[in-house]
């Protein structure tokens, strides 16, 4: 089901809406947010200079550091008494990023999430179990409101307490699971280890995944655990932009449809800031349209993606962003080679003797970068001899070398011995200090 008519507008109609809202948004932010007005003044741009969508390129970027510099609410365009909700991002270091919503923002956000939920196959018939951590994180309450809005029965189980999650799943007949992909896999593993066959014994048929990216091999793994008929899609958002509700996959699984009447995407070269033509890979930059509490122009997401403007077989005409290739700040430089954790994940998930979980450690020994990848052994046939185990180790190293051009040390551990994550998985430990 398609939730909003705007999802099927012609390109001309979408662009007309975008231009109208962009002009309003630029005038609004210039008037209300001194920090952004200063940026515009510094490059000599006035709201009246924005006459076409192409003029967007003239506007300065907003960075994560702008949130830090204006902590906690310096980028807000409305006084606190007009806010009905405040969230904060899961900042791992330093202060979190604080975001806020007016009543109207909440309405827009909720409907944008409803669109994404419908894209992923949800309907009012669903029993939705939300296994995202509640609290200041936008993910849980965002999906919560969006699913409730379409009429699904929402169960706010929050993350953790896996056994209880499974009990609710069984007893209340969960049909739709909201979680990070890594937690969904963990849940599935525990379900199987309890002797429950998800396809036979449970009703879970839809997964709406977010909070972290999901690679294609991980999706295959999800089908192995939850069954082949499991419709598993991912969606995209970040608290600065509103939370979930920016983009989501439809059952065609050809990228994530962006809610273009509320967000204008651009792809830029992360080094130069130059806007790249459609079909190029680069950093995703998003301009939020019509946000009242926290308008944002050209926000640098640090996520690497690509835009596809061809209409989709699902009937939607909105632009699709390719599933994340990685985050520009997740990239590690190891012995001068650019490495994304997703590349390593793809290799590991294609080796059937290994489980889907892994950890990457990078350290420096004798001035050389050394990468150690710890993986879980799951195939008992390897126990026939030590040579089979060392043959496996060689095979992993060879595949990694082919994919990355780098050698790695492989450490095999027992199944279920690596840490499982209820929120975003933290798989990389860089002990090199300088981070380079």
């Amino acid at each position: 089901m398609i939730w909003a008519p705007e999802e099927t507008y012609s390109r001309e109609e979408i662009q007309a809406i975008q231009l109208r809202k962009l002009k309003q948004t630029v005038a609004y932010i210039y008037e209300k947010v001194p920090a952004y007005r200063q940026k515009m003044d510094a490059v000599g741009i006035k709201p009246a200079d924005i006459q076409t969508l192409k003029d967007l390129e003239k506007l300065p970027f907003t960075n994560k550091s702008d949130f830090r510099d204006n902590y906690p609410m310096g980028l807000f365009a409305r006084p606190r008494k007009e806010l009905v909700r405040v969230h904060a991002s899961s900042g791992t270091t330093g202060k979190p990023t604080v975001v806020g919503y007016t009543r109207n923002d909440m309405h827009v956000w909720t409907n944008n999430v409803s669109r994404i939920a419908c894209m992923g196959g949800a309907s009012k018939e669903d029993v939705a179990q939300i296994a995202f951590g509640y609290g200041m994180f936008t993910g849980a309450l965002g999906l919560h409101a969006g699913l409730e809005n379409i009429g699904a029965s929402v169960m706010p189980t929050s993350s953790g307490n896996t056994k209880k999650q499974i009990m609710y799943m069984q007893d209340l007949g969960t049909t739709l699971l909201v979680a990070t992909p890594s937690y969904a896999l963990h849940l599935g593993e525990v379900v199987r280890s309890m002797g429950i066959d998800p396809e036979e014994d449970l009703k879970v048929r839809i997964g709406l995944f977010g909070g972290e990216g999901m690679t294609e091999p991980m999706r295959d793994e999800m089908h192995r655990v939850w069954g082949n008929s499991f419709l598993c899609t991912q969606n995209y958002g970040m608290s600065e932009l509103c939370g979930p509700g920016v983009a989501g996959e439809c059952p065609e699984l050809q990228g994530m449809h962006i809610n273009e009447d509320w967000f204008i995407p651009e792809i830029i070269n992360p080094e130069t800031g130059e806007v790249l033509p459609p079909g190029s890979k680069g950093e995703l930059v998003i301009t939020c349209l019509g946000k009242e509490a926290l308008p944002l122009i050209r926000y640098r997401t640090k996520d690497l993606s690509m835009l596809m403007y061809e209409p989709c077989a699902c009937g939607r005409t909105t632009v699709r962003m390719e599933n994340l290739f990685g985050r520009s700040d997740d990239m590690m430089v190891i012995r001068g080679v650019n490495v994304f954790p997703t590349q390593i994940e793809e290799v590991i998930l294609q080796i059937p003797e290994l489980g889907p979980h892994y950890e990457i450690k990078v350290e420096r020994k004798n001035r050389l970068d050394v990468m150690t990848i710890t993986v879980e052994l799951i195939d008992d046939r390897l126990l026939d001899s030590y040579s089979k185990l060392s043959e496996l180790e060689k095979r992993i190293r060879k595949s990694l070398k082919a994919a990355l051009g780098l050698d790695a040390t492989i450490q095999l551990v027992a199944p279920m011995s690596l840490q499982r994550f209820e929120g975003k998985a933290k798989r990389v430990t860089d002990l090199r200090g300088d981070g380079l």
Binding site: D379, L382, L383, D384, S385, L412, A414, P415, S417
Partner: protein, 138 residues
Amino acid sequence: MLKQVAVFVENQPGSLRKVTTALHEHSVSIYAFNSYDTPEFCILRMVVDNPVKAKEELTKKGFVTRICDVIAIRLEDEMGVMDKILGSLMDSNVNINYIYSSFGYSNQMSAVILHTDDAAETEEALKKEGYDCINSLF
């Protein structure tokens, strides 16, 4: 022929203990075992009285566990007995992958346990040489 249980164990203090605790909790008796000094992990190999149950319980506890065939021959307490067995295997051109022994208990003799690429073929060869391969250690 005899069933051997192999378990993947990490090289850390207490990791073998986790295996023996799991077996003890379910009253599985161990009759022979071995593990070697490998750097990061080892394969703990055992002969137990109930290999199917051992695998089931260890798998539940998260251990990767494998059952395979090995050969066992009772060891008479005589000078040169090992030399004779190994000589017979050499004559039959059988390559031994690994070898260990069970412990004698309550009047039972110890046994030598060996793993080759083809247990059935090895057993056949040993039979021809007059050895009695046993199917149980208890």
